[in-house]
Amino acid sequence: MSTENKTAAEVNTNEQNKKPAKSFSLMQGRHRGRLAQIPIYLGKDFRMFIYQNDWKVLPMAALIAGMIGFVVGENMFVTMEGTFQCSLALTCICIWNGFFNSIQSVCRERPIIKREHRSGMHISSYITAHLIYQMFLCVMQAVLTVGVFKMVGLKFPEKGFITSWFLLDIWITLFLTTYAADITSLFISCIVHTTTTAMTVMPFMLIFQLVFSGGAFTLSGPAAVLTNVTISKYGLVALCAQSNYNSLKSVTLWNTIFKLRERSEEIKEALYLIEKEGQLENILAESGKSMQVAAYEMTKTNIYSCWGHLLFFTVLFAVLSIIVLEFIDNDHR
């Protein structure tokens, strides 16, 4: 306070304090380039993580994983149906987390970006800093999701298919799915001008991902083609493939027949005999064979292809984000 008063009091009017006019000299030296600006914005992002409560996305991810794991985790890796449900739920969690991480991150400070762009900020540095920061969030969220699933008692296979650890395989898929969704959402945040618009667009994007995942609904014709541009499809396929979906038993047929046992004595008798002679597991396995899905084939090519697609979406939307934001100077006042 004293500093302010002192400064105000010391400043005199123009007539008393005027100094001889100084001639113009250009500031010498190169300014920070694209690479050197990245740490500046990365620092800002991490300070926002602390001060602007962006850290809340981490406990939120753990909470959602806990709920899903508790509800649908029991039959993961046990039956086809349980594995599919849990894989779909995991994919949805990843997309939800990714979307929420960054949907407002650019549009909420758009006028600030415009001002800084005017002062020499490089858009590519700004977006790259975001890519690194968002990667940190997605890594943590994927770790939390796997950790929480483990905590709620989900029994993961020990041997991995791609790496030596199954948990690492699953973590990679969860991370790539979350990150692809995150960067897609970052792109949306670069296009829209207000947080209200961003939050209006987000539910449509979520619904699109869910409907066109190719798993939640049976699609045909042009709608089936659309599944190829969704993150959810590749996340779901990768999870099902890693879980060896096609080798699991199916309980759908058995459950349906079981429900009919009260209507027919013959069915009741047959069910009794199957159980008595220990044929139940064979029937469930045979039932599973008839339910196999070629897309969920547990092959390295299949999983790498899914990961590749997820990476492709990430890179595509990152580049598009930079291109779109380069036009920020055209924003109206």
């Binding site: 500093t3 400064t7 009017t13 123009n14 113009f24 500031m27």
Partner: protein
Amino acid sequence: MFGLAINWVDILTLVLYAASSFWLSKYFEKYKIEGWWAWIPGARTYWLARCADRESDGKAALVLDILYAPFYLFGSTFNVSEDVKAVIALIALFLGIGRMIYKARITIDLCGDLKVNKAWGWLWVFAEVIPCYVWSHNEKYWPKTAVQRYNGDDPLLSKEVKQGIADNMDDTNQGLSVRIEDRTVRNFLDKRYLLREIFMNIEPGHMVLLLGGSGAGKTTFINAVTGYEKANAQILLGGMNVYDEYDKMKYSIGFVPQLDLIRSNDTVYRTLMDAALLRLPADTRISELLSRVESVLEQFGLASVKSSLVEKLSGGQRKRLSIAMEYISDPFLFVLDEPDSGLDGVIARDLMRRLRSITDQGKIVIVITHTPDRVADLFDDVIVLTKDSRRTGRLAYYGSIDEAKEFFGTDTMEGILRKINQKDEGGEGLSDEFVKKYAERQVVSE
């Protein structure tokens, strides 16, 4: 395969469109708009919006019309499968609702301007042939003013006067030399002059008040001068061309926007440090960087709050931080857009005194303020921009504060604004007279 499917409804639609276009063309002529625009889908709505002075709505309606037309024509003219038809209908419905809403906004506003029943607005949307006929035939719907068109001619200043002003400019100025021929923007179907003929030299060590009513082009002028939005102009700072050397010179030009565009959840110190890292050369030694940040914090009275979050600062402190972020690179030209908005008189004056002390270091400081009289004594000069009768930003005066008062025949800065503002803005509407008077004075006196 596709097949043409034109029926009597389509023919009737075409006849009604032709009739409404014919009468709309007559109505457009009242606004001095070429009648043939009425026949072009999309463009007619845009020009109707220009009649209602709702250009942005007109642009949106034009875009929606352009998008809607192919879906409408394809869906109604060709036999396609039910699935394709359903998709087309869905998109056309979405776009159709949008264009309907925009058209309603435009025509209801037009009714408001002409002071007629707003129900006419909805008639324009659903049965435009009726208002097209009635409005084109009835004198009651005569517009107050024609839509301004920009054909490049200048009704205020002759070529000789302009040449005289340009010839009289002093080329040896080591401060800021502004020679704006014009600054135009091209909209979809029209070109607009935002600024015209602004010539001046500002000496180093001068603090300049930029005065002008709403829409006079103050921010456009600043953007043109700082090189942010280029005009058809030559801007020299210390003899160097700002437009040619913008990438190098932008660090010598500080611009403080009207709003405090600072991240509220960051600390004052980090905000200023990041600004320094961006604006100072990369080879600046860390000790110099730290000392510069500390000295600017001191200079702007922010040292005591340097660890606070920006969101915890008062309005005055936040404004000082916003200024400090630009001042960190020690710019030679410092431009501030309403730095005192939202501040009380005492704090505003304290802020202006700080700017005065910056000016006294031999820099050029240009300040836009809407409360000029409380700080006018701190300024050396005043630039008066005004909106002429064609709504183009023009220079009505540049010179010392005292001479400005004499020139406009008033005792206060607000008095100057009253003189030049248009009558519908509460002014005396003398803008064009002062533009001419000042231009003639520039030719004679320089």
